[in-house]
């Protein structure tokens, strides 16, 4: 479940879906542990992405004074 190339919103959606499985009828004890690990990894990725992202602020050179 690699998160490379995915946006934060996509990763959050994926995390919500993973969490939803635990409440759904598809829940199966055998694969619960692996899914839990995947969710924890995804949450760590989201935290990393959110902490690292920065804005680019550019002040336009153009003058808005009346010519």
């Amino acid at each position: 479940m690699s998160g490379k190339g995915k946006t934060i919103e996509q990763k959050m959606q994926e995390l919500r879906e993973l969490a939803g499985w635990f409440e759904s009828d598809d829940f199966e004890l055998g694969s619960a542990s692996a899914r839990f690990e995947a969710a924890a990894k995804l949450a760590r990725e989201i935290e990393h992405d959110l902490s690292e992202m920065e804005n680019t602020v550019t002040v336009l050179k153009q003058s808005f004074e009346q010519s």
Partner: protein, 361 residues
């Protein structure tokens, strides 16, 4: 006549031309502050009034398009203009822009323009558009030297990242500010890669400082912007017409940043919360599963026992003497020796008989 050498003789037209040239050189733009008197509009196009103080009065002339906030006699205003000597009408100042000054005049002008634009539906809720949920390109109009701008950028960078923020540096107070902000709005609206939202911010100030944001042309430009607008001017208690015309109004520049993007710290907490919430969910499902399995095992044991009981009952029924008699057999009771009496029990009757003979098999 000693003065003859320095004397300049000019025609009237040349004199007018020379005076205007001198005015232009000496005062390309001058702001004059005074009280409006004799305000009138002719043919719906031309505006004339005087500005006066305790000692003097000067004529002003311009078009209605240059009057961007309603005026009345008695208001104090600052007029940006160019002194002109007209060949027909004499001296006047050509109006470039006008702004009310002083709390009373600003309030009166604000009320008049609010009533006018409100009647046109410029501030209707139905016109308001939502801001993009997570913008990646933002256009900001502000003075980069203003405290409000610094607050906005600081909060924005703290809350969210990965955005391209283009800043149009303009005046945010004074008579020239509305024109610059309008040109910045036009720039973003006509850009090849336009931002998803335009943010106009300015920190707090007295009513004179914020008066630029009650300029009619600016308010109309904000309302007409193709790109959704977010305006945060002054402190929470300040209301400008620019605020009212915006799609979304922020109380302050910092609040504008809060309304624009989510807080990354909240999102981190939310994602951690989702994972932590899985532990009790998993435990409860595990317990339910165990209960289910143990219930199934008890039911199985009961079923086996039931089978055993059924089998035993069937076996017992086989040995029941009545069952044997029903199959045609008979029961013999008594001493089987010659001459003795015995009892023979069958399904339908019981026979008493004497033993005549006993042989070994």
């Amino acid at each position: 006549m000693e003065n003859e050498k320095t004397e300049i003789r000019l025609s009237v037209t040349d004199f007018v031309g020379l005076v205007n040239q001198t005015f232009e050189y000496a005062m390309p733009g001058v702001v004059i502050v005074g009280e409006v008197s004799g305000y009138n509009v002719r043919q719906g196009k031309w505006v004339r009034f005087k500005l006066k103080d305790e000692q003097s009065a000067v004529d002003f002339f311009g078009s209605v398009y240059q009057i961007r906030q309603p005026l009345e006699d008695g208001m104090m205003v600052a007029v940006l203009g160019r002194p002109r000597l007209s060949d027909k009408w004499g001296f006047s100042v050509s109006i470039q822009s006008v702004q009310p000054v002083g709390q009373g005049s600003i309030k009166r002008s604000f009320e008049l323009l609010l009533r006018k634009l409100d009647a046109e539906g410029l501030f209707d809720e139905a016109r308001k558009r939502p801001l993009p949920e997570l913008p990646t390109r933002i256009g900001v109009i502000s003075s980069t030297q203003a405290a409000g701008y610094a607050d906005f950028v600081k909060i924005l960078n703290g809350r969210w990242g990965g955005m391209q923020v283009e800043v149009a540096h303009t005046l945010v107070q004074g008579i020239n500010a509305p024109g610059q902000i309008i040109r910045a709005l036009d720039h973003f609206n006509q850009a090849g890669e336009p931002p998803e939202v335009i943010v106009i911010v300015r920190g707090g100030g007295d009513p004179d400082d914020l008066a630029a944001f009650n300029d009619e042309a600016l308010v109309r430009a904000i309302a007409a912007s193709r790109i959704p607008t977010l305006v945060g001017i002054g402190h929470e208690i300040d209301t400008t017409l620019a605020d009212l015309a915006a799609d979304v109004r922020a109380a302050t520049p910092s609040n504008a940043a809060q309304l624009l993007v989510p807080d990354r710290r909240e999102l981190i907490e939310r994602s951690r919360g989702i994972v932590l919430g899985l532990v009790p969910a998993m435990r409860s499902r595990e317990t339910a599963d165990l209960k289910e399995r143990s219930a199934a095992s008890i039911a199985e044991r009961i079923r086996v026992l039931k089978d055993e009981v059924t089998q035993t009952a069937r076996l017992l029924r086989q040995y029941d003497p009545q069952t044997v008699l029903a199959r045609g057999y008979a029961l013999v009771r008594g001493d089987p020796s010659v001459g003795a009496m015995i009892e023979i029990e069958r399904k339908e009757d019981i026979i008493e008989a004497e033993v005549r003979d006993v042989r070994k098999r």
